[in-house]
Symmetry: C2
Subunit: 766 residues, 2 copies
């Protein structure tokens, strides 16, 4: 844990230049707008430790997998979000010395990410090796209003000298992915050009042939007057820019404004990319920096109005939750059903920018609760569109008759990870995808989605489960062998309780949906039978038999469900038995030791109890929580939020708050010692859930919104807003009362702490 950032309600603030923390800060201070984003790399050249990263949504490269020993059925490639052309470069030379913070004396360094307006500001004084000092202020944003536009205002003032300087302004597409499997560069040039004041480079990805055109224009002023320095044009492969010679005058600020436009062939015709790009760019230039920034900040203002959570009396917690909401919002806006949410968003390359089950299990509730219905629906449609590929994937693995196995990791519907224990065995993701349909319909009441899309997916998934289980002659029950549950600190286990439960639930829910459709709309059911060749006689019977005869590992003595067969053979220790220097165990212990230990990355069984709490009594949940929580090391960022929610439900307020702090400040305080790779974007949705479903106790039961809030004792009050069936409801929780307020939409009845109340627009206090 590294607590080096200043606590502040609306801002992330770094007040000292610490090169050792630079990569962490580059992640934390990342900016984006759902269409593109970037790490908080410096505009100047920097020879110190850095992970350069700019990203464009939807553009990926199928990097050949790196596999030690090929096994049949392995995915051919590991999809990678691309480190995209960089438009931020403003390289400064003064008297032949590079302005490079790794080689200067740096004073008054400050980096501020203003979450209210989405503006990244960095300021510092730098003394060059020969004693010349400059003062720099760099402001940057990726426009939320014009999502293909970014802008920088870079102010540089010579403090103690006058002299000659050179400023290079470029578009640099000669970039590489750090995690390229074979040190290959993924981009090749299509075209480039530079002339006075502007430049562009169009590149395409190898193999996938995505085009990205990046153009820049810039303007330089001193004391409000344009400067026209001598310009040399600089071009090389995948790089174009201007080198401008300037006179620096002591005490006089030079202001450089650089505009960029980034267009991808996902949204534009390749043939017209260059002209389209300049059209977007010219529009930005015409607006000007301040106007662009205003428009950008206005969008943020609207977003915050929709999804802010306030916490009174705990600045660290307030900053934490806003940071999570900020990052989520700038990662995914939900307007494009081709896009999804990568584990690192636009803050790093790790996990390839691909879609995991995180989306369904963690992100969906956030978007259900904070955005209009179509946003969450788009996340479901994303999987619907990939159904055929999920069927193909299952077929490749030997399944038949329309069984669908969604990929564990994907960018286009195909499986693209490279570990058998993940791709072949973490089949629980199939259940999460089914669960998300249920969760969406439960929250929104949009039953039509089932008929139009959902049931098709559910049937594919259920067909998979029905083939994946086998009858154990020994147990005289169905079993599921060779799986890996969400607890990845176990691999290739038999009868993972969570997976078995999800499978049975999927089958039951699918059958229920089929029954409903059959009873309600005759033609829809007929279509089903025709197009999906669903055979109720044989398939339905088999599914029901599995539902009634599935095996679940349990410990009758302790009254708990067992993570998998043989779990009780382990030496049952608790996290308190671990020495501090042994943690995190995934960095300190060898893999085999982790696998045979009882320690849990994220608790399977508790995940299941969280999903299906209404199917268990509170004491069962308590026994399981009390059994598993002490063994859970939370080395998955997805883990703590589920514990917050369950602990809240069980009245374990201290534990809930402890876990909340861990999830909400995971990246700000670099809890898991890995934020330098990027922020844990998908788990940030878990932080939101921690407050709303955990502390706030939000549930939707039988089409009715339920709240059962408690307030951590460290807080004075907290509030959140909920989108629910065309209403916006604001909930404020105080020490001794809860206020609910219908901000938008028709009156409705909700349940607050078990009492029915009628929301009609006045502030209700209970």
């Amino acid at each position: 844990m590294k607590a080096y950032l200043k606590h502040h309600e609306w801002q992330i603030i770094e007040e000292r230049f610490n090169p050792h923390y630079n990569k962490i800060s580059e992640s934390v201070f990342s900016i984006g707008n759902g269409r593109m984003g970037q790490r908080a790399n410096f505009e100047e050249e920097y020879s110190g430790e850095t992970l350069q990263g700019s990203y464009v949504a939807g553009v990926y490269y199928p990097d050949k997998t790196r596999v030690g020993w090929w096994k049949n059925g392995y995915p051919e490639y590991f999809a990678k979000v691309l480190n995209a052309p960089s438009w931020i470069g403003i390289h400064v030379m003064i008297d032949n010395q590079k302005l490079d913070l790794a080689k200067c004396k740096v004073n008054n360094f400050k980096r501020v990410l203003d979450m209210k307006t989405g503006l990244l500001t960095r300021s510092f004084s730098a003394t060059l090796p020969d004693g010349k000092e400059v003062r720099v202020v760099a402001e940057r944003f990726c426009s939320m209003a014009l999502s293909e536009v970014g802008a920088i205002r870079y102010t540089i003032m010579p403090v103690n000298f006058s002299g000659k300087g050179i400023v290079s302004l470029s578009v640099d597409a000669d970039v590489a992915n750090k995690d390229s499997n074979y040190d290959e560069k993924f981009w090749e040039e299509v075209n480039r050009q530079t002339e006075d004041g502007k430049a562009h480079v169009t590149v395409q990805t190898k193999k996938t042939k995505f085009h990205v055109c990046t153009a820049m224009r810039y303007f330089i002023e001193e004391a409000g007057k344009p400067i026209v320095g001598r310009i040399n044009l600089e071009e090389r492969d995948k790089y174009a820019g201007n080198v401008v010679q300037l006179d620096f005058n002591e005490g006089k600020e030079i202001v450089i404004v650089k505009y960029a436009a980034v267009l991808s062939s996902e949204n534009h015709v390749k043939e017209n990319m260059v002209s389209s790009c300049y059209a977007v760019l010219d529009r930005a230039v015409k607006n000007g920096f301040d106007s662009l920034l205003n428009d950008h900040a206005a969008v943020w203002g609207k977003k915050w109005k929709e999804c802010d959570i306030t916490i009174d009396g705990d600045v660290a917690a307030q900053q934490g939750i806003r940071f999570n909401i900020f990052q989520l919002t700038q990662t995914y806006t939900g307007e494009d059903a081709r896009l999804n949410i990568g584990p690192k968003g636009f803050t790093g390359e790790k996990y390839g920018g691909s879609t995991y089950w995180d989306t369904e299990a963690y992100c969906l509730p956030f978007y259900l609760g904070t955005a209009k219905q179509h946003v969450a629906r788009n996340l479901l449609v994303y999987r619907y569109k990939h159904l055929q590929k999920a069927i193909d994937n299952a077929t490749k693995l030997g399944f038949k008759n329309g069984a669908a196995l969604y990929p564990m990791v994907t960018i286009n519907g195909e499986e693209c990870h490279n570990e058998w224990e993940i791709t072949f065995e973490e089949i629980h993701r199939n259940g999460a995808i089914a669960y998300a349909i249920y969760d969406y319909v439960r929250y929104t009441g949009d039953h039509d989605y089932l008929t139009s899309h959902g049931l098709e997916v559910l049937i594919g998934i259920s067909r998979f489960w029905a083939q994946r289980v086998n009858w154990s002659a020994e147990k005289k029950q169905y079993v599921m062998l060779g799986v890996t549950g969400p607890n990845e600190y176990e691999n290739n286990v038999n009868n993972n309780w969570y997976t078995n439960y999800l499978a049975v639930w999927s089958l039951r829910y699918t059958l229920e949906c089929i029954r409903n459709i059959k009873s309600m709309t005759g033609s829809a059911y007929k279509n089903l039978v025709t197009s999906l060749q669903f055979d109720e006689e044989s398939e339905g019977t088999k599914w029901n038999h599995i539902v009634s005869n599935m095996y679940f590992p349990e410990d009758q003595v302790r009254g708990v469900y067992l993570q998998q067969d043989g779990f009780l053979d382990k030496e049952l220790l608790t996290v308190n038995d671990l020495k501090p220097e042994e943690r995190p165990i995934n960095q300190k212990w060898s893999w085999d030791r982790i696998l045979r230990s009882c320690f849990i990355k994220q608790a399977d069984v508790l995940q299941g109890l969280y999903f299906f709490e209404e199917q268990f009594d509170l004491e069962t949940i308590r026994r399981n929580f009390d059994f598993y929580e002490p063994m859970t090391v939370h080395e998955s960022s997805l883990s703590p939020c589920v514990h917050v929610i369950l602990a809240s439900m069980l009245g374990y307020e201290e534990k809930a708050y402890e876990m909340y702090l861990r999830t909400s400040r995971l990246d700000l305080d670099d809890y898991n010692n890995d934020t330098e790779d990027g922020c844990h974007i998908t788990s940030m949705a878990g932080t939101w859930m921690s407050v709303v479903k955990g502390f706030g106790g939000l549930r939707v039961i039988d089409d009715k919104l339920h709240l059962k809030p408690f307030i951590p004792k460290q807080w004075k009050s907290y509030s959140f807003r909920i989108e629910f069936r065309n209403r916006v409801i604001k909930v404020t929780v105080y020490k001794n009362r809860t206020e609910t307020f219908l901000e938008e939409g028709e009156p409705l009845e909700i349940m607050l702490a078990g009492e029915s109340i009628w929301l009609e627009g006045e502030r209700l206090s209970v």
Copy 2:
């Protein structure tokens, strides 16, 4: 299965040029001498499918591992036997046309590997694109008498033309490994030189800095008279040679004799490598081709006298067993304790040329039975020398106090594979290394080895087992979690019966050896306590407790041991339930499907029953064999031999013979469709065991040699020779009798079919 080679008692014969089978033949026709070896690549250039391969014993490269997702404790590198400088090149051009069999019309092609003399001969007629025809005979061997020398006699005759030709004779070190993880070349040049008639190149491996100097000289004659053509010297990086211009005269044979010397810094001082190399080369040249070949053949004659197995009445079986013995003999001579036996020997790169448990479990009995005692002892000493590295390896994985985990795959004592399920979990190899000590002492009676070396290894291994098990509060027994047994079609299983049994046996045997040493030689025991800090009080007590309280999975109903916990949850099918097109399943099924199926690559439990047959009654062995054999797909080359031995013991003669054919002709008939990567050298020792321990029923019990032969009904007779405690015993088995003959050494009592007989030098027939 590809039955394209002609059956012959002493030769491997290919009578047709089939480019599709060329890589298989390159493997099968490989030649070597324990110091170096090579695939049967052509001397001429060949643009068709080929896997080029020359290998020098002990020279390796630590190639950076290729791992999809790094986990703590992973080995840094995957050791690779190197594709070494090639000295075979004799490239021929006639009128600007390359002699390249892929581009000629080829007639009368014949490739013969004469196993009696170790000579590879290839002959063919080739018609060039312009109609010119040449007749070529190429003879080649790696001298068993001078192990750093190779020689080629290449005879070429223009059949229907006279004209100009060019012959290039070179040393080519600009070679790469096909399985390089990152397409890197592993050699860099140290020096090179060429002058008229000779050339050399010295290269070193990157990182490991092994030097290999390869030099060649050649002589060209026509009608017995030397030809001095115009010579151009050709040099480039890592390549040196002569380009000789020749006149071809219709019907006149040109004979090129090329000699090569290959020296490595494993055996020579780097500074003098070039001069040493030419000294060896000059000695070879002085001898001349015929004399070198005679000396080489004479060594083979002696080897065959020692270890030949004859089979009368079954040419395919005869050829098979000789091929296995031939390849084993040219892979490992046992004179250098730094060397060991790679799974592919000198016939391919796969498995990196590293040492596996194959050596202890399969190869050791072959060398015990066919070579002088020091050869087998050298194999044990190899591991003894690696003990500290095995302790380091265990320490790295979290074990303490001198616990030793030998690597699953190694070339210098360090673990160097790259799959966690192999390196971390296939810990059964530790047991095989302990077993080999027991097996060696049992066979040779060399108890001193225990005091001098063996016990130290046994204690390190036992310390590992004692820490690797854990107490199950549930079972109230010790369990061993998270292992992979020899059946690699299961990964990360709990309580693998074979591993649990080996662990307990290791502990018991170590304790027994300690007791013996304590009772016999007081000072040896004291040394043990001092140097190894063995604490009988605490360690001995713990070990005994484990021995008495280990859990073994069993099926009480069927009366069989279970491969691991949960095995009975599987759908129990037999190999007969598989469709032919589904086999081999490792090429047709996805990995997850294999893992959760009941199908067995090689049967764990049967391996254990084979090792420890005296600890089980015959009916127990039978029940287990009957249970597991039908589920075993034998997709490990190490599998069938164990089944031959058990089937023989159980009187299942048909099954024994079926399995024998499979192992003995595995490569000749390319059973597993993978011989193109190289021959299955280590499993060849299993073929020998099949005959001697299987059909011959050889055992050593209480210092006495036992035989219990049967003869497959397809055979008239068979014979084998056995080295046993300074005797050589020849055994010939006929339909109705067995002849034993003491060829060397003092008289001794042996047991034949349960009867005691006294061998004194006369031929005994029973």
